[in-house]
């Protein structure tokens, strides 16, 4: 028996819109097997995931809080991948943003949050952006593999941060390795008090819209897509490929940096190790799930956040470990990539 993929014309729009639904259903079905293995009622487990993430005002706000950094790192990866700059370093860029926020957050610039907060946001963006520019520069200048450099820089940055937390930023009173608390003027206002949801959420949504506009309506977005599709033809057509890649890297890293700013100024109010639960890496999965579409990143990051918070609730009430959320997210990504393939190919099984 031979299984072959045969090209076919794209599906009609309504069928294409249903593809993600099929993917999610299929992923849930397979995760159900793993849940059943623990002896838990599968339907009850799924119900707990849904209610645990969407079932109450508190749960829903927690989901949006989790969604905020994931949306930003998802956008960071989306922008980079569209130019075929393989930025796996959103985690490190996030920490750069977080460090910038923790640093500027303790400098009294002004008592008004209207000055302090924009400065912090800009500093976080620039810090993340500069970190991403370095591997991009190595790529355009010396053809160094960007997957390796961006990934490895994550560790450099994380250990740099630990070094800072263990030395200059160590809390002098408690001796804990976390930075001093940021000033009141640096704290992100809450959106729907008493919930913890902060303006970082609006920044993430706004960033998604701006990324959409960037790709579709600006000259830079046009060049970025051209370089991603075919750098040689872009160069022949008069586009400065190197400069475009550097600009792409800066924006990509900057977006990831904003995720770090949000975690420091909106959630923790100081810098501590483990401020990111791997958001930079989730960004890669989210960007792929969104098919590298900025507005799709909103949906994909929301979906990931639902699974993330929901499975935490579920594991509290059942014997299913919290790691089921990783399994479900991974499965959804795999089924989504498979289903997206079916948009352009059909499976042909022939006997031989």
């Amino acid at each position: 028996m031979r299984i072959k993929l045969v090209k076919r014309p794209p599906l009609p729009l309504w069928k294409r819109a249903l593809l993600p639904v099929w993917a999610i259903l299929l992923a849930f079905l397979i995760s159900g097997i793993f849940i059943a293995l623990t002896g838990t009622n599968v339907l009850e487990a799924f119900w707990l995931i849904i209610t645990g993430s969407l079932g109450s005002r508190f749960a829903f706000l927690e989901t949006l809080i989790k969604m905020t950094p994931m949306c930003l790192t998802g956008l960071a990866v989306t922008i980079a991948f569209r130019a075929k700059f393989w930025n796996i370093g959103a985690e490190g860029q996030l920490y750069m943003g977080a460090m910038a926020a923790a640093w500027i957050g303790i400098i009294p610039l002004s008592s008004s949050p209207f000055i302090q907060i924009p400065v912090i946001i800009m500093a976080g963006f620039v810090a993340g952006g500069l970190l991403a520019i370095f591997p991009a520069w190595l790529k355009v200048k010396f053809k160094v593999d960007d997957v390796v450099t961006t990934l490895m820089l994550n560790y450099v940055v994380i250990f740099l941060m630990r070094a800072l937390l263990d030395t200059v930023w160590r809390d002098p009173i408690s001796g804990w390795p976390h930075s001093p608390s940021i000033l009141p003027a640096a704290i992100f206002p809450r959106l729907l008090p008493p919930g913890r949801l902060h303006i970082g959420f609006l920044i993430a949504l706004g960033a998604a819209v701006l990324c959409f506009i960037l790709l579709k309506y600006t000259g830079l977005g046009y060049r970025l897509r051209a370089v991603g599709y075919n750098p040689q033809a872009s160069r022949y057509g008069g586009i400065n490929v190197k400069r475009t890649l550097l600009a792409t890297a800066f924006i990509s890293g900057g977006l990831a940096g904003l995720a770090g700013v949000g975690e420091v100024c909106g959630m923790q109010f100081y810098l501590i190790d483990g401020i990111s639960s791997g958001y930079g890496y989730y960004g890669v999965a989210i960007a792929m799930l969104a098919n590298l579409q900025p507005l799709g990143v909103i949906l994909a990051s929301f979906f990931f956040a639902v699974i993330f918070t929901g499975s935490q609730t579920m594991s509290r009430y059942t014997v299913v470990p919290v790691y089921i959320s990783d399994i479900m997210q991974g499965l959804t990504l795999i089924t989504m990539l498979m289903v997206l393939l079916l948009n352009r190919y059909k499976i042909k099984i022939s006997r031989k």
Binding site: Y217, T218, G219, L220, Y222, R223, R225, A226, Y229, N230, Q232, A233, S234, R235, Y236, G237, G238, I239, N240
Partner: protein, 528 residues
């Protein structure tokens, strides 16, 4: 090897390809092609770039599946699903680009994937080394089995590739342009090896477009042109001129009604230009050319004689090592493409899919590429899509691009229409100089004459056109002056009115003077 073929006449071919057809999108790469290879012979597979030589051999080697036709080995029909199948049937291939692992030793590269070399899962290095030494000695393929591949010269790497095939006891060895990467001395050694191999009972398919080499080493040649088999010639009964005529063809003649124009002045001056190729060897050697207003300068030559590097240097994507390119008095040497667009040089690259267009972009996006930073297409950091679409629709109409709309993805168009998109982009900038490298290659006859008409329009409007082609009929039809390139140098510059295909053909083969003495020396250049 006439002594072999007389002493050992076999009526059955070793390998036979019958009526092979293969299409890529709308290009017929193979159009009912037949090929037989008999034991103990070297068959030359001759044709220009894009004639279908490599595709035919990739089909034989199992890398491509033919759309129709049959392959027979020892008279039995076979289907190859992969090169592994093919090697088991005794057919090996040395590709133009080597498939070696740089940081592995020669032995490891040779035995890779060969189960017999590792009985019970343990690699028998000693046995392999012994076998490789034997093969090296027998066929004059000198290489140290224990050195790592990255330490080897190009010629040695090629020997490793040949050894890889011999190690698997192939009966037929396919060599895809094996001399393209070699120095003249290495070529001589390769030819000695090939003759050794045939003496020991192998057959060889030798792909080339270099006539000297084909005359030197083959017993018989099959000539392909535009995917069709043109004919077959016994090497002992043919001449280079005859082969060249079959390669470039006489079946299509182009009629381009040229207007008499009288413009004065130089547009483009190439002054002692030297350009290197990807391997760092001199590909364009100190050439000087002048292009005048209202004229077409044709560049003829067998492919691989520096035309590509010349076009890339003029197009701003390859560095000129020395010399100058002057356009309307302005030095444009080594300027990036964006500056060349500003200088109003239209550039149609040879490889329109890789260099010319972004195939995943839609037509409008491709058309605006070189002017997307200029008003009215750009306002500040934003693009003005209504203006871009409007301009695209105008160009689609003007250049007769057959498409459902301006938002259609470029790769879904046919070959001729893809080229029209590129021409529309380049000619809509109102250029002063048009650089056209192989602008009609792979196009059907209708699209070819459309391209010729566009070029003639530019010429009669006082523009200068540099037209690079391997098709002599085409060059004779479109050019005012024809320069012939051979091994990176200009062999001669002839007004088109005085040029004949015979004259040009001789220059293309590097024969400057057609006296008999010169000819003999040229033919025996590779003799040892």
């Amino acid at each position: 090897m006439s002594e072999n073929s007389t002493s050992n006449i076999t009526p059955h071919p070793l390998v036979e390809m019958r009526d092979i057809c293969k299409r890529f999108l709308d290009v017929k790469a193979e159009d009912h092609v037949d090929l037989s290879v008999y034991p103990r012979e070297i068959v030359g597979l001759l044709g220009e770039n894009g004639a279908g030589k490599t595709t035919l051999m990739k089909i034989l080697f199992g890398l491509y599946q033919p759309d129709s036709g049959a392959i027979l080995v020892n008279g039995e029909e076979v289907t190859f699903h992969s090169p592994l199948d093919t090697i088991q049937h005794g057919i090996g291939m040395v590709h133009q680009h080597f498939n070696l692992v740089d940081h592995h030793s020669v032995i490891e590269n040779i035995i890779i994937g060969d189960k017999k070399s590792s009985p019970r899962g343990i690699v028998d290095y000693r046995g392999a080394r012994k076998r490789i030494r034997e093969l090296s000695e027998r066929y004059g393929l000198e290489v140290d089995p224990d050195s790592e591949v990255w330490q080897l010269s190009v010629g040695e790497k090629q020997r490793v590739e040949i050894l890889k095939a011999l190690y698997r006891d192939v009966k037929l060895l396919i060599l895809d342009e094996p001399t393209a990467v070699l120095t003249p001395q290495e070529v001589v050694n390769l030819f000695i090896t090939l003759k050794q191999l045939v003496k020991h009972g192998l057959s060889i398919v030798f792909i080339s477009h270099k006539l000297n080499e084909v005359m030197e080493v083959t017993d018989r040649s099959v000539i392909l042109r535009r995917g069709r088999r043109i004919g077959e010639q016994k090497t002992s009964e043919t001449t280079k001129e005859k082969l060249a005529a079959m390669m470039v063809g006489t079946d299509e003649s182009f009629v381009v009604p040229k207007k008499a124009v009288s413009f004065q002045g130089e547009l483009l001056k190439i002054d002692s230009l030297t350009v290197k190729n990807d391997m760092g060897l001199v590909a364009v050697n100190n050439i000087s050319l002048t292009l005048n207003k209202g004229s077409t300068l044709g560049i003829a030559g067998v492919s691989g004689n520096g035309q590509r590097e010349l076009a890339e240097a003029l197009g701003g994507v390859r560095r000129a090592e020395s010399g100058r390119i002057i356009m309307e008095g302005k030095d444009i040497t080594n300027l990036p493409p964006a500056r060349l667009v500003e200088a109003k040089m239209a550039r149609i690259p040879e490889d329109r899919f890789r260099l010319g267009l972004v195939m995943d972009f839609n037509i409008a996006e491709n058309l605006v590429m070189e002017k997307h930073r200029q008003p009215p297409f750009s306002r500040g950091i934003f693009l003005s899509w209504p203006k871009i679409m409007e301009s695209a629709r105008g160009l689609i109409e003007k250049f007769d691009i057959r498409t459902p709309g301006a938002r259609t993805t470029t790769h879904s168009l046919s070959g001729g229409n893809i080229q029209k998109v590129l021409l529309a982009r380049e000619l809509s900038m109102d250029p002063t100089v048009v650089l056209a490298a192989q602008p009609t290659r792979g196009l059907d006859i209708g699209a070819v004459s459309f391209v010729h008409r566009l070029m003639e329009d530019e010429r009669s409007n006082g523009k200068g056109i540099l037209f690079i082609s391997e098709d002599l009929d085409e060059l004779l039809a479109v050019s005012d002056i024809i320069a012939v390139m051979y091994e990176g140098e200009i062999m001669g510059i002839i007004p088109a009115a005085e040029a004949t295909k015979e004259k040009l053909g001789r220059l293309m083969m590097g024969i400057k003077d057609s006296s008999p003495a010169e000819k003999t020396r040229e033919v025996s250049a590779y003799a040892d």
